[in-house]
């Protein structure tokens, strides 16, 4: 009788195992270093769950085009999407993403456990409401990398002090940053001509907007009247905003390498790694790669948050949340992945592999700030983030800004005031088309 009981138990156990069938999940993201780290991390999930993971990574310049086409056409390629923060409004309203509130409640996942800026930036739509469409997956922010070894050269330090009356070190303000960039521009270092700064100027996707906002925010630019949504006049084109745009153009004109008229993340990394520039504007995701680099890594490079300006202290938010695509045939397995990914020990591993965790338990750990040379800069930067529009019409808003800013900063057409007045007109037209004005 006992033997029969054991046999029955084995049969039931095997039936139970086979009923939890393994799924083939595809995760879509941009092709960059953190994506490789995620592939490594996800092997644990495959072992634990028995599901198979595939990955679809698209280079950044084509990422939005490719993935938004996929979502808009109701494609079933991606079960999980690590989409850009600005897609959240459009993807929530068009029904591309699965709403995760019930799932989070059922699994005990609380958004209070994540860095507030990442929840607002990557997960919420409408902004400021507890409606969640993603789990913060990768915290990112624009910051700066500099050549510490050049800054520490005594002859350069004394020359800089003589010229500007202060020490050559991490700049506290944007004006100081420009002075440093100007100081290095065209300088001969070890027999090679070097330049001041690599900044974002790319026109085709989002590059110049992700760069210029770091100056605009800190000079007083705002996306609209905080008390009256979509009231743009006097906020987008305020005197402070005009000064911020003029600053960015001055920085581009005085202190960037020749030929840097269409640079974004990869071009800036290349310029810094090849020893062409003293300063580099870029998202924090590159810092692990810089630190490990044979030419500029280790003590030769340092990191600092975007410096303050006369109108405030902000930095452009990057990063993404992970969402379940509503057209997926494997939604349960995809949710299982999110549940697995949200666990504190997995998030800790994520940080160790080079992914920027947004979980507070990880970043508020006493050992976090000293765990990597750039960890404190990451924390400081995440405390001052501001993001671009996340409206469903974000693409139209972004392209209008790309166009207006690139024409003024790179092509030198018109004035900063004309560029921002034009931007207000473009954005008003977009919001009118959207029925929001």
């Amino acid at each position: 009788m006992r033997k029969i009981g054991i046999v029955v138990a084995i049969v039931f156990a095997s039936l139970a195992t086979s009923s939890a069938k393994s799924a083939d999940l595809t995760l879509c993201w941009a092709a960059w270093d953190p994506a490789n780290a995620l592939v490594e991390l996800s092997k644990d999930f495959e072992n634990e769950s028995g599901h198979n993971m595939s990955f679809e990574f698209v280079p950044w310049p084509n990422f939005a085009d490719r993935m938004l086409n996929e979502l808009n056409s109701g494609g079933k390629l991606c079960d999980l999407m690590i989409g850009d923060s600005q897609w959240i409004g459009g993807s929530a309203e068009a029904g591309h993403y699965v709403k995760l509130n019930d799932f989070f409640d059922a699994q005990g996942i609380s958004m209070d456990d994540f860095i507030p800026a990442t929840v607002a930036g990557y997960a919420e739509w409408p902004k400021g409401t507890p409606n969640y469409w993603a789990l913060p997956a990768f915290g990112d922010v624009v910051g700066w990398t500099y050549r510490k070894d050049w800054f520490e050269r005594p002859e350069l330090q004394s020359e800089y002090k003589d010229k500007y009356g202060r020490d050559l070190g991490v700049p506290m303000t944007l004006e100081e940053l420009k002075d440093i960039a100007e100081f290095f521009q065209g300088r001969d270092i070890d027999g090679k001509t070097v330049y001041g700064a690599a900044i974002y100027t790319e026109r085709g996707s989002e590059g110049i907007t992700m760069g210029v906002t770091n100056a605009l925010y800190n000079y007083g630019f705002e996306y609209g009247n905080p008390d009256s949504p979509y009231e743009l006049e006097g906020f987008v084109n305020s005197d402070g905003a005009v000064a911020g745009l003029e600053y960015y153009k001055a920085l581009y004109d005085c202190c960037t390498p020749p030929g840097s008229s269409d640079w974004y993340m990869s071009e800036s990394i290349d310029a810094f790694r090849s020893g062409l520039v003293a300063l580099q504007m870029n998202f924090a995701f590159i810092w692990p790669g810089v630190h490990a680099d044979a030419n500029v890594g280790g003590d030769r490079s340092g990191y600092f948050p975007n410096p303050a300006g006369p109108g405030g202290h902000f930095a452009q938010l990057g990063g993404q949340g992970i969402s379940v695509v509503s057209y997926s045939g494997e939604q349960d397995a995809a949710l299982e992945y999110i549940k697995w990914f949200a666990q504190p020990h997995i998030q800790k591993q994520w940080w160790e592999l080079g992914g920027y965790s947004a979980l507070r338990a990880v970043v508020e750990d006493p050992g976090f700030a000293t765990s990597q040379p750039y960890a404190q800069t990451f924390l400081d930067s995440m405390a001052i983030v501001k993001d671009f529009w996340a409206e469903p019409a974000y693409a139209s808003l972004l392209l209008a800004m790309q166009d207006r800013v690139h024409k003024f900063v790179v092509a030198g057409q018109g004035t900063a005031r004309e560029a921002l007045d034009g931007l207000v007109e473009d954005w008003i037209e977009v919001f009118e088309d959207e029925g929001k004005l």
Binding site: A64, D65, L68, N69, N72, G90, A94, G95, T193, E202, R203, G204, P257, P258, G259, S260, S261, D262, L276, P392, A395, S396, L399, D403, H406, K407, V410, A411, G412, Q413, D433
Partner: protein, 315 residues
Amino acid sequence: MEISPLEKAAVATPKRFRRSIQRLSDRAVAWIFVGPTILLLLAVNIFPLVWTIRLSFTNYRANRPNADVKFIGLRNYERILTDSDIWQTMQATAHFLCWTIILQVAIGFALAWLINRKFKGSGLWTTIIVLPMMLSPAVVGNFWTFLYQPQIGLFNYLISFLSGVDPSSFTMIGEVNLAPWAIVIVDTWMWTPFVMLICLAGLRSIPDYIYEAAECDRASKWRQFWTITLPMVLPFLMLAVLFRGIENFKMFDLVVLLTGGGPGSTTELTSINLKREAFEKWRTGYASAYAVILFVTIFGLASIYVKALNKVKDR
């Protein structure tokens, strides 16, 4: 005696069916053969065109499939035709189109004339000259982006060597005044061989006896060129201009890889602008109206040009 497959098929066809086929007129048989092709053409060419025209009168957005689609009359057309940015892209396209055609025809014809002289190694030179047009535009775009680099680019060093100007003092694809010429130079480098091949075909089609008769009449080489060579090659040249004109009006890949339409919107050609409206801003109705305007423009210009070409051929 062996029966042919056709006869086998005739025997195998049921009698009633065979009779009804035999009763078919030649016209009906022709329609049976042509019908599938016409249906295919309607499905892949005519239907999308009609659908595009229909969408051009609406506010439809492909990224909002559930949103209401409103009929807005000629509003999209009005907005396009009064938009200064669109006219700027038209100007950029006209500049690109005119200069690439002028340079490609001039250099292509000169190269064809030289190759036609049949010197030692002319076959090898023809192969070398034709190489650029065999490359993918993606390769050419990336390749020339490196050539134009101010720090490491060979193009800047060549100009520096010839003129004494500092190579890092100018950026071909980053300056408003130079970028439109940068894309003209690359397209000319890539597609002049194509014009050369067409011209070469034209030159080789001129019978030698015409030149021999001109020699007998003591016509100078210059006169032979103006009265024999050029008129007889002209239809070929015009055909080359038509091909290059249509191709360059819809130029996209090469320019996107080289300049991305910048700096500012200096090199944003109409096809790039149209793609941004349709697949980045997702203004599908607006982009449809834009596409209709471009279609009518190309169709109109091409029709006038083909009439002129036929007149030249008939002369």
